[in-house]
């Protein structure tokens, strides 16, 4: 099923560009069903803090090749993800509601290069990608709310000038 908002993004292939949910459930759930995602988020957030993924210092070590820690985390997370996705596909595992699990291919565009480089510059400056930014606020680093607000502003500016940017 194609969600209707896709038609609103004129110009070029929008689906590949956006990590937006394109696997719509046909089931209608009450809003509190979303709490299960909150619980996954809590576990994920605790892991982020306890493994020091949200540490500005760990990110600096990573980009200076002074520590294996972050490479180990990203590498083992990807291996776990690859094996999980392979198992889901191989055994046609369904969701807990019995719906099929689907995947959509991402299409290449130049945004992955230009945007990727800009994101990398920001990642090393703030020492955090979007997930850790949320966790840092939770740990009491309230000033990071400013960083997050600025990230929302950056997203908005991208959306506003999207059609004039090379993709």
């Amino acid at each position: 099923m194609q969600p209707s908002f896709i038609d609103n993004t004129a110009g070029f292939e929008a689906r590949s560009q956006d990590t937006i949910c394109i696997n719509e459930s046909h089931l209608q759930h009450k809003w509190y069903h979303n709490f299960k995602y909150l619980i996954v988020g809590v576990l994920f957030g605790v892991g982020f803090v306890k493994a020091e993924v949200i540490s500005w210092f760990r990110i600096q070590e990573m980009f200076r090749l002074q520590s294996f820690h972050m490479y180990g985390i990203i590498g083992s997370a990807v291996v776990t993800g690859i094996v999980s996705v392979w198992l889901i596909r191989r055994f046609r595992i369904k969701t807990i509601y019995g719906e099929p699990i689907t995947f959509a291919p991402k299409k290449f565009n130049k945004g992955q290069v230009y945007g990727g480089l800009l994101f990398g510059l920001g990642w090393a400056l703030t020492g955090a990608c979007p997930g850790p930014l949320f966790a840092q606020v939770g740990t009491g680093a309230t000033v990071v709310a400013v960083v997050l607000a600025s990230a929302v502003a950056g997203t908005w500016v991208y959306g506003r000038f999207r059609d004039s940017l090379p993709h």
Partner: protein
């Protein structure tokens, strides 16, 4: 047991746990892991303006906002109940470099000498917090995802555009950390 959990977790525990988020979200509701999309949902829900990019039914994506609310809550829980009292062990080469910029407090997850309300209105603070945040938000949406959507979810599903994005994330980070950041920190 609690004492063990309070210690910093090694990569081989945390990495697989983070990776398990991918099948967890898929099995719970066919949801694709991607955190930066929430920045877009915040724009769409609070100030869509006249921008077509923000004209969509963000309410269908509310699961993801619950997910990041969980991350914030996880941060709270870890900070208040699972704190490791010792300062973070920073590589001596990094500690030495940072000392030349006057940064020698490693007590927090973010360097308190750089990330504080007091330093927000200094040139260094503005560049790092406001400028850095802007680049993260602009760049991740331009790239179509961040480290979660591309480097973890994208690579888990063997998408080569996500590999390109990941390589560019790392290239930008290397450039900033090794060549640009020293200039910013020196001022």
């Amino acid at each position: 047991m609690l004492e063990v959990i309070k210690q910093p977790w090694p990569w081989y525990v945390a990495g697989p746990l983070i990776g398990l988020t991918v099948p967890a979200l898929l099995i719970l509701g066919n949801k694709h892991f991607g955190i930066s999309a929430n920045l877009r949902h915040i724009c769409a829900s609070c100030f869509p303006g006249n921008v077509p990019f923000f004209q969509y039914d963000y309410k269908r994506e509310i699961w993801n906002l619950f997910f990041v609310a969980g991350i914030v809550l996880g941060g709270v829980l870890a900070a208040y109940f699972l704190t490791n009292p010792a300062a973070i062990q920073v590589d001596p080469r990094l500690a030495q470099e940072l000392a030349t910029y006057g940064i020698n407090d490693f007590s927090g997850m973010v360097p308190v000498q750089l990330y504080s309300w007091d330093s927000l209105l200094t040139a260094r603070g503005l560049i790092m917090m406001v400028g850095g945040g802007f680049l993260v938000g602009f760049g991740s949406r331009y790239a179509g995802g961040c480290t979660s959507g591309h480097s973890i979810m994208g690579l888990s599903t063997l998408q080569w555009p996500s590999l390109v994005a990941t390589i560019c994330f790392m290239a930008g980070g290397f450039l900033m950390a090794n060549f640009i950041l020293p200039i910013i920190l020196n001022n």
